[in-house]
């Protein structure tokens, strides 16, 4: 008994401080893959029947709805083009050195942590798809979390609601910087050290601030849900409802941020290249500078 306990403690120590156990972990995890697949069978069957057993009228209605949505989104994209042109111009004025460019990879949820207090999910993308530790993960509505471990074909994502997680945020309206911590509850984050004088209201949108360099700036994290001012306390207790559907989304987006140097001449042409991602244009601009 004591020997086994000592062994467990030693393992905990080794796992915490070294990476020696990684190969074993990867190996056992791959061996358990068929079991994972089996446990997903009910939801896979449900998905299959959803996809294959739809009535025609439902499909037509769905199609109609999607067409409308595409139209709306196209409209928005035009605005985005306009905004990125403006953004590039302003950055150029500020002589910013780089422009962030993002690309996403769609990943599917294949498992959740067996420990309920650990808000950790497994997705079906891994090192082979270029996933890396620390990568930001989104769903359609906002930031979900970050990658904390990567295998060849799978990776573990810690959600922002995990009690061990904290993320730097800013209030969208004013840019005030704060830290949002997970609480172990999917529907609640908590803001750390909010002074009573801060102008914060319910339903205020919080965006990632990009400080700390782990999460890119400007992605929605949550909306202020409750503000509790207790007399005699130094700080206000603010809870936040995450915008991402932390416990419902089955498809996640892995975010790749690439750093593109902004050429310092010819604003208009640099904008073209940034939008189309046309390398030749970029090269030409560099040549112009030289």
């Amino acid at each position: 008994m004591l020997v086994l306990l000592a062994l467990a403690l030693a393992l905990l120590f080794v796992d915490r401080n070294t990476r020696w156990l990684e190969p074993t972990r990867t190996w056992i995890d791959s061996a358990a893959q068929p079991l994972r697949w089996l446990s997903n069978t009910p939801s896979n069957v449900a998905k299959w029947s959803d996809q294959n057993l739809l009535s025609r009228s439902e499909l037509v209605a769905d199609n109609q709805r999607l067409k409308t949505e595409v139209l709306v989104l196209k409209g928005e994209v035009q605005r985005v083009v306009d905004l990125s042109v403006e953004n590039a111009r302003l950055r150029n004025l500020l002589s910013a050195r780089e422009l962030l460019k993002t690309r996403v990879l769609v990943a599917e949820l294949i498992g959740v942590s067996t420990m309920p207090l650990r808000h950790q999910v497994t997705v079906n993308r891994g090192a082979r798809d270029g996933v890396f530790v620390g990568q930001a993960v989104l769903d359609g509505d906002g930031l979900m979390g970050q990658v904390i471990a990567v295998d060849n074909d799978r990776s573990q994502v810690m959600l922002i609601s995990d009690a061990r997680h904290a993320i730097p945020v800013q209030i969208a309206e004013f840019g005030t910087r704060l830290i949002a911590e997970g609480t172990g509850d999917y529907q609640r984050l908590q803001l750390r050290h909010v002074p009573p004088t801060l102008n914060i209201k319910e339903h205020d949108l919080l965006l990632s601030s990009g400080l700390g360099g782990r999460f890119p700036a400007g992605y929605p994290v949550g909306r202020v849900a409750t503000i509790e001012r207790k007399s005699g306390q130094d700080f206000v207790e603010v809870t936040v409802l995450p915008t991402a559907q932390l416990n419902r989304s089955r498809h996640l987006l892995l975010l790749f941020t690439e750093v593109n140097p902004i050429p310092h001449s010819g604003v208009s042409s640099s904008i073209d290249s940034d939008i189309d991602g046309d390398i030749n244009n970029n090269e030409r601009d560099k040549a112009d500078v030289d």
Binding site: M1, L4, L5, L7, A8, L9, A10, L11, L12, V14, D15, R16, L21, T24, R25, I28, D29, A32, L35, R36, L38, S39, N40, P42, S43, L109, G111, V112, S113, T114, M115, P116, L117, R118, Q120, T122, A149, Q156, D162, A163, R164, T183, G184, Y186, N247, R248
Partner: protein, 159 residues
């Protein structure tokens, strides 16, 4: 010899099925209520085949759970080990209990298990202690008669 082997096949199968169930995502509102099925199945074998399965079995199984669940290696191993030790001391009495009393004792063991694993989690990562860690003990009360019933029937048949 052949009955022995049959029994081992049954043990392995039951543990694999328990692992599959423990992976199941299910609806997230019920996540906190998920009973530690692997532990319950392990407890069944520890209590009803004590001459074959002991602490080393519990430890190995806990380690396996750690590896597949992404927990720090050694966490469940330790929790499994302590729970198994406790179960062993109770073994002689437990077998004479009614199923209802068994359920209460099992709930107690699950609480011990949860407390140890959450304590290790807190020591390593910090975080908040929640009442939710007791929910699995309650759901274990509901699941135990089922596990004990099904495994008991299969077990007796294999002997």
């Amino acid at each position: 010899m052949s009955t022995r082997r049959l029994s081992l096949v049954l043990v392995l199968t039951s543990l694999l099925v328990a692992l599959v169930f423990s992976f199941g995502a299910g609806r997230s509102e019920w996540l906190y209520w998920k009973p530690p099925i692997v532990l319950l199945v392990a407890l069944y074998w520890l209590l009803f085949e004590p001459q074959t399965f002991g602490l080393v079995f519990a430890f190995t199984l806990g380690l396996l759970v750690d590896f597949v669940s992404g927990a720090p290696a050694g966490e469940s191993a330790m929790a499994f080990c302590v729970t198994a030790y406790w179960a062993q001391t109770l073994e002689h009495r437990l077998l004479h209990f009614t199923i209802f009393h068994q359920c209460l004792l099992i709930a107690g063991l699950v609480v011990v298990y949860q407390l140890i694993s959450v304590a290790i989690d807190l020591a390593i990562h910090g975080g908040a202690l929640q009442l939710a860690l007791l929910y699995p003990a309650l759901s274990a009360i509901l699941v135990w008669p089922f596990i004990a019933g099904v495994l008991g029937r299969l077990h007796r048949r294999s002997l």
